[in-house]
């Protein structure tokens, strides 16, 4: 270019006519060309910068530009019953999220989403969409139809992520046992929480909870029996207009829970009411004055002390007055009663006198030994702590002898009853399968064999003898024995004679009890005006219905031998 310029000048020099003017002219032309070159250089530099920027952006990681962080979805093992039936499983659902930074018009998004999700919280969602963050959940766990409808809206800045959701095929059938998971599929109640506490939570947190590696968790529950139990307690609650009812079927020889239900309960697939106060699991998380069922333990204690035999007698002619309280009998006989009579007539006075034989210290020690005063240890997290008087006095021993003044859970009452029925071995109840060998290894002996034998006799007697309070629990062929309990509830600080908490604890078959069945019913009303509302009328039929319907599933053979024999005799 410079050469070019020189050439020009040399040519201009040759033209003498206009040498000065032409020279000046060429000088500006040369400067101009220089400056064009400078401009070109600047533009070249700018375009090179843009090219560099493009290359730089080309090597950026798209994820780093602010997409939502991928999250490990928590997988959970299936829960199956003792026969392998599915109780809880994971299903895949779509959850709706938004990337607020990519949302243009939050109002439009909300308006359109409302056509599919009418219950979306407008203000809250608006704030979420305006938050400018990279990721927010809008609605978790949509149905496939909702997902499809939202897809059809074609909104930018929102998306779906597949999540695991817990599904319970049985709905509310075993709700209190299985418990719940939260929206992140973490166990928050029942066996679900137990599974997490056993290390699953850590596994999930470390991202190692891979679905195929998770073995199903097998429970001791039998779904068939569970269904029957829940069905019966629901019906009873309805029939007797009670505020609650519950029942448990316990293996008397291993401590396995075969079925347990407490109503009102909830549907774990839609647990909107699971946290309502009256929806708790009354069987393990509710404590009650169990009433006369406790007399089983009082009697066993007296017999086990060796100071009393089945032939001992107690004076039940007069009420006992202690302090301001007077202890009377409900079915008062007004005479001296033998131990079996105290039991089947459910004599408060007789029971108080039985406790008196052992003494206050001995009484408390026995109840503690049989596990009624301590917080039960089992897999379920929802277990209440029993309450007892801070200092045991004479009056406490007397009232506790017939089941007042001390509150315990129905489940541990059943566990204690199992010890009385199986010959004296106490186990912690379990919701997981437990073999006889495992049971024997963890069992502790709490009463003598002989006492157990006497208790079985008394239970059977109470269901068969004339005047026995457990007659309504009888199931032909299955030799049921049991003890009723009708406790008066405290209303406004006083025991009410009309508001009751009833229970029935039973075992069958009585010659070698396999199962304990305990039912409770809270504030039952008479079925029809004039009928009774004591445990014999409502709690006992729950037990008999459960046994009648479930005994064959539980593997107990019916034996009509005694009854048929009796009939044969009568026909002769």
């Amino acid at each position: 270019m410079k050469k070019f310029w020189r050439k020009r000048i040399s040519k201009a020099e040759s033209s003498t006519a206009s040498i000065v003017v032409d020279g000046a002219r060429k000088a500006t032309g040369g400067r101009s060309k220089n400056r064009v070159v400078m401009t070109m250089a600047v533009f070249l530099g700018i375009y090179a910068t843009i090219a560099g920027r493009l290359v730089y952006l080309g090597f950026q990681d798209p994820e780093a530009s602010g997409g939502p962080v991928s999250r490990v979805t928590a997988s959970r093992p299936d829960i199956v019953d003792r026969n392998g039936e599915i109780l809880a499983t994971d299903i895949k659902t779509a959850s709706l999220f938004a990337e607020p930074r990519r949302i243009v018009d939050a109002d439009e998004v909300i308006e359109k989403l409302q056509t599919v999700l009418p219950d979306i919280e407008v203000e809250q969602t608006y704030n979420k969409l305006k938050s400018g963050t990279g990721f927010v959940w809008l609605k978790r766990q949509l149905s496939p139809k909702q997902q499809n409808d939202i897809m059809q809206l074609g909104l930018p800045g929102i998306g779906f992520r597949t999540e695991k959701r817990r599904f319970y095929p049985g709905g509310p059938t075993a709700s209190h046992i299985l418990g719940l998971t939260n929206i992140d599929n973490q166990g928050i109640a029942g066996m679900e929480k137990y599974i997490d506490d056993q290390g699953l939570a850590d596994l999930q947190a470390s991202g190692l909870a891979v679905p195929k590696d998770l073995k199903p968790v097998r429970l001791s529950i039998d779904l068939r029996v569970q269904h029957i139990v829940r069905d019966e307690v629901s019906r009873a609650m309805e029939k007797f207009h009670a505020i609650a009812a519950g029942a448990v079927v316990l293996n008397a020889k291993t401590g396995e829970v075969l079925a347990m239900a407490s109503v009102p309960d909830f549907d774990p697939n839609n647990p909107y009411n699971a946290l309502d106060k009256d929806h708790l699991n009354r069987m393990s998380a509710g404590t009650y004055e169990m009433g006369s069922t406790i007399k089983s333990f009082t009697t066993a204690m007296a017999l086990d002390s060796g100071k009393v035999t089945l032939n001992s007698t107690f004076d039940a002619r007069r009420p006992i007055t202690i302090g301001r309280q007077t202890i009377r009998d409900f079915h008062g006989k007004g005479r001296i009663l033998t131990v079996p009579e105290v039991f089947i007539y459910s004599s408060n006075i007789g029971s108080a006198r039985e406790a008196d034989v052992v003494g206050i210290e001995g009484h408390r020690e026995f109840l503690k030994r049989i596990g009624l005063l301590d917080r039960m240890k089992t897999e379920l997290p929802e277990v209440a702590r029993p309450s007892e008087p801070k200092v045991w006095k004479k009056v406490h021993s007397i009232t506790i002898a017939f089941g007042h003044g001390m509150s315990t859970t129905p489940l541990q009452t059943a566990v204690g009853a199992a010890a009385l029925m199986n010959g004296g071995l106490l186990f912690e109840p379990t919701f997981l399968p437990r073999t006889q060998a495992q049971a024997d290894a963890v069992a502790t002996r709490v009463i003598k064999e002989k006492t157990g034998e006497d208790m079985r006799y008394l239970y059977r007697l109470n269901a068969t003898a004339p005047g026995g309070s457990g007659k309504r629990a009888a199931v032909p062929g299955y030799r049921v024995g049991g003890k009723t309990g009708t406790a008066e509830k405290v209303v406004n600080g006083r025991y009410s004679s009309t508001v009751r908490f009833n229970a029935f604890v039973a075992a069958f078959p009585m010659e070698d009890p396999q199962y304990i069945v305990l039912s409770i019913i809270d504030e039952p009303k008479p079925e029809k005006p004039g009928a009774g509302a004591t445990a014999g009328f409502n709690a006992a039929p729950i037990v008999s219905n459960i046994i009648r319907r479930s005994a064959s599933f539980l593997g107990v053979q019916p034996d009509f031998g005694h009854e048929t024999e009796a009939k044969l005799v009568s026909y002769q």
Partner: protein
Amino acid sequence: MASRLDKSPVAIWWRTIDRWFLAAFLSLMGLGIILSFAASPAVAERIGLGSFHFATRQIFFTLPALAVMLAVSFLEAREVRRMALIMLCISLVLMVAVLYIGVEVKGARRWVSFAGVSIQPSEFLKPAFVIVCAWLFAEHARQPDIPGNLFAMILLGVVVTLLVAQPDLGQTMLALGTWGVMFFMAGMPWLWIVVLGALGAGGAVAAYTIFPHVAGRIDRFVTGEGDTFQVDMGREAVINGGWFGVGPGEGTVKRIIPDSHADFVFAVAGEEFGIVLCFAIMFLFAFIVLRGLNTALKEQDDFTRYAVAGLVVVFGFQSVINMGVNLQLMPAKGMTLPFISYGGSSLIAIAISMGMVLALTRKRPEKRKQVGFSGLSQHAMPAE
């Protein structure tokens, strides 16, 4: 190919036209149509028009633009000058008018409506302004006693005043920058450069203090805080597209950025067709600008040199600013990407400019050197 013996205007045109330029302009027009299909349906749907409203209109405008470009490319340099003078007068009148009868859009009056057609006079002002300034500078260079530079300065003052009154700071910057470059090439003394540079810096500071939205944009660019939504989106779109793009129609940024069919079409291109296409577009612009400047460098005639350089410099500035904003290299500034962004006025005006470039760069017999005072020198110089 047309024979040398063929003396018809079209044949002469075909022989003399710069076919590289022509190919580059036609490529850009074609890309404009293709990218309008990528970017505009989302925008059209968002504002309730038919999906292909803008795409159809882009084609509808491209045809007259092509015709105008080719027609202008037939002109002689003198005719170009005359046309520019007429365009300048009409544009200036319209720009005064626009202040009174213009349609106010987003706080600025830039548009006038004629029989249902909205036009933006400032778009047409730019090429006319460049040509007239080139002529003034060239005249001053030819005859220093002609106050061409002074007139050019006065003209700049008028244009800038009208643009600031709209207000349209983008076009103001373009006008100032182009004028500055042309004056620079016309041999502005270094002292002037310093003075004008200082004035320009002062103007920038003034814009920063007077117009809050300018201050906001610059602050946001420097600090990265506040609402940098559109620019962030542009950059992310390019990153998301990667080298080869996410595929036509698969992009998301066009649904999010309000002006994706206009100011952010480059980012849309990047997301859907990849950085490879961005490079192609950039190379086309760089090619046009550098080839234009190179032609100016070799040009003997001062007017042609300044005019071609000025026209490609406006073109280059627009492309550079638009791409820079799209790639988050500079503060957000609404600037169309010539030929590619949607916009009728912009497209026609660019077509006129580039038609002028084609007209001025046509091969022609070297003019006799107008050395010294006209008519005095009669030397014939051989063609290079």
